[in-house]
């Protein structure tokens, strides 16, 4: 469709040019030159144009419709007590429309505690915000897995807080809300301190994934990274998790503590 409109414009332009050329040829032919000299008094608008032009040139001034991609691993880390985590995202597309993947994986005592993958369509809706819609799949530890639909808003809030908030609607009317915020404090151009927080709310209890209705859990972290390059930055930090209400009860029933603080060492990278 766009190409069609373009060619109409080209044809229109050609027709207009031809028309103008005929009109111009009827006028007296003058000579103008572009040199340094020239007197203002005698200047007349050019009347004898060079009619060579390339109206039929193809429409590619440069490669404009280039698609880009970015794979970010925000956290790839070892935590105390033989546990670890992976958090990352990837996008592919143009300036407005992109496909996103987001993932979170947590290991505890050597086995995968939690793993989820989101696939989203993302559209830029304002200078700093993207509206996203898609699906999430949870790979549960010992029971059946779960699927969710997602509406998310992500972007950069005033004061440079990176915010990702997602509303999840699951099978059987399950619902959940997750809000994540991150801030980058530059100590120097290379030493960067990153406080971040994630809060999860659920509409229902779910014993297998130790989530409870209402405010279920909170994760907070403080990581200090060193950017050897913007794309390669190892870090040290501290990670804190706390479960609330029913979620805390489920954790206690399994013999886990509802809150935990661990040291972490990891790598942040993107390409």
């Amino acid at each position: 469709m766009k190409a069609l409109i373009h060619w109409q414009m080209v044809l229109l332009g050609t027709a207009l040019q031809a028309q103008a050329a005929v009109a111009q040829q009827a006028t007296v032919s003058g000579h103008h030159h572009h040199g340094q000299a020239g007197t203002a008094a005698t200047y007349a608008p050019p009347a004898s144009p060079n009619l060579r032009h390339a109206a039929d040139a193809p429409d590619h001034v440069m490669d404009h419709q280039v698609l880009f991609s970015k794979v970010t691993i925000d956290q790839l880390e070892r935590r105390q007590h033989n546990s670890g985590a992976l958090e990352g995202s990837a996008w592919f597309g143009g300036d407005r429309d992109r496909v996103w993947l987001k993932t979170e994986v947590e290991q505890e005592e050597g086995e995968t505690e939690k793993a989820e993958l989101q696939a989203l369509y993302s559209r830029a809706i304002s200078p700093y915000w993207n509206l996203q819609a898609g699906v999430r799949h949870d790979f549960e530890r010992e029971s059946d897995s779960r699927n969710w639909g997602i509406i998310a808003l992500n972007g950069l809030a005033p004061y440079f807080f990176e915010v990702d908030s997602s509303l999840f609607v699951g099978e059987n009317g399950d619902s959940a809300l997750r809000v994540e915020a991150e801030y980058e404090l530059l100590l120097t151009q290379r030493w960067i301190l990153t406080p971040e927080m994630e809060v999860n709310f659920y509409g229902q209890n779910h014993r297998n994934s130790t989530t409870g209705s209402g405010l279920s859990d909170l994760e907070a972290g403080l990581r200090l990274r060193y950017e050897f390059t913007p794309k390669f930055a190892p870090y040290l930090g501290v990670h804190y998790e706390k479960k609330f209400g029913n979620a805390a009860d489920f954790a206690r029933e399994e013999g886990d503590s509802p809150s935990e603080t661990t040291w972490v060492i990891g790598l942040r990278t993107w390409f």
Partner: protein, 651 residues
Amino acid sequence: MKRPNLCHQNISRRTFVTGAAAGAALAGISGGAGARERQSVLNGEAVHTLRGNRFDLNIGYTPVNFTGRDRTAVTVNGGLPGPILRWKEGETVTLNVANHLAHDSSIHWHGIILPSDMDGVPGLSFAGIQPGGSYRYQFELNQSGTYWYHSHSDFQEQQGLYGAIVIDPAEPDPVAYDRDYVVLLSDWSDESPHDIYANLKAEGHFYNRRRRTAGDLWDEIRAKGVAQTWRDRKMWNEMRMSDRDISDVTGYTYTFLMNGQTPDANWTALFQRGEKVRLRFINASAMSIFDLRIPGLKMTVVASDGQNIEPVSVDEFRIGVAETYDVIVEPDGDSAYTLFAQTIDRSGFARGTLTPDPALQAAVPAMDYAPVLTHRDMGMGHGAHGDGGSHKMDGMDSAGSTDGRKDHSRHAGHNMEPMGGMDETDHSQHSGMTDSALHNRASEQYSLHGGRPGLGGMQGVWFTDALGRAGHGSNSSIVHLPSEFGYGVDMRSSMPGDGLHDPGIGLRDHANRYGRRVLTYADIRNLTPTRDQREPSRELQLHLTGNMERYMWSMDGIKFDDAQPLMLKFGERIRITLVNDTMMTHPIHLHGMWSELETGDGDFIPRKHTVIVQPGSKISYLVTADAYGRWAYHCHLLYHMPGMFREVRVV
């Protein structure tokens, strides 16, 4: 060899790769008719000069090594820069350009007034030069002065495809000199330009190594107190912008070259006692704006963009990407001088030496302090006005605002709602008018098709009434189109500053601080009278727009892909007013026609091909549409070009 003074804050080692001493290894491919000569007697690989009126130019790959790492450049006749083409006004030149690359290529003759199909812009002027193919350019030279040429294909300009053009005048030259040197500035990166662009798209601040730190904040608090610091930071934080965003691509990846030589390789030119030396400065960079000075020497600027001007004596001038300035210097016969070109963000420099003796060189000065942006650079007016976040800036509130393309059917008078920011207009300039009166006046005054619907130019804002006098600039209201309220625009100047008397960010206090006289556009006066003294019949107000966070660039919020051509009627005289709604300095280049800068003197309007538009400022020039065809009109910063680009069609 004297080393540059590196005692600067926050400088990483990589910031100052000034080039391995080896310099460029350039394998010369022979090509081109006409005599060849060396431009300078020193430093091995001098830039060749080709004279005559028939030239064979070969675009090909050339191995180079500027930083200690082997890389491949894209060059003309094996040189980086390509050969200096020395022409004579009045002659017809023929250039057979052969493309030996694996990709399409092209050469654009920057600043040369010629037929559209000789302009060398693929997609507008011609189909480009295919691999293994060639194109025969032929045109008559109706001008003299200093110009340059470069590829208009892909990012080849970043890879080395550029060179100087000097056209000797047919009449006796009004400028007297004994020696004549081209000083071509450029920026080289070992990264591929596609990687640079991808990095910017992923993180707009990727190459900014001078971002604000906790240490800066502490210094600021100690200097100004917590309250004032909070007020100062509030605006930037709420806007999610950095006052340290001066350049997109910096010395973090660039090595800056003078005539293809790194600062360490030190390009050198000779003179003898008592000689007047003409230096033809050309900024052939992809992304780097330079501030140029020669410590110890006054420079008399005699030409701008190839056009003779009334001589102005200065200590320093800013040269935007694609601009050219010719200066005359009269050095003392006993000393050497450093030609010092520091980038606008002070992340690096190019340098060379002017000396009576090859054994002599001068100290390389420390770079000046790095500028930070102020309210003024946001187009928010001066002083206390617009303090503390009372301005209008985008946030989530503009979500879902109208898409620019839907608005083409809108007519004058229906555009009340989008004129955000106008209520902040300095009322003193419109004494006695209420806000609504101002809105009414503005909406009656402009239309989206310039009163010439037959031309189909439904782009930009056109004014036809109450235009300012030719040479004196615009007095039309600032109108932000609905298309400026989308996801691709992060800022709009409500009170754009004066782009004429302002030497630019980082130079404003150089007179007070260092006692240097800095050139401004207002200083430039053409040597000969204005040829076309008609008043403009209509005025186009075009806004330069972008989103730093998303690294998107556009005009009026519409990127080139989605834009329709700007239609001009052959022979008409119009005014173009550029409003910079970004924090970046943009050099804007109109192909095929002169941009006659309105400096306040209608009788001696200087003609330029590239005009710097300061951040948050506006500037006006006149254009006589005396060249049929399809012409490119764009920001000359290479990575802004894909979006900040328009086709101008003269019919």
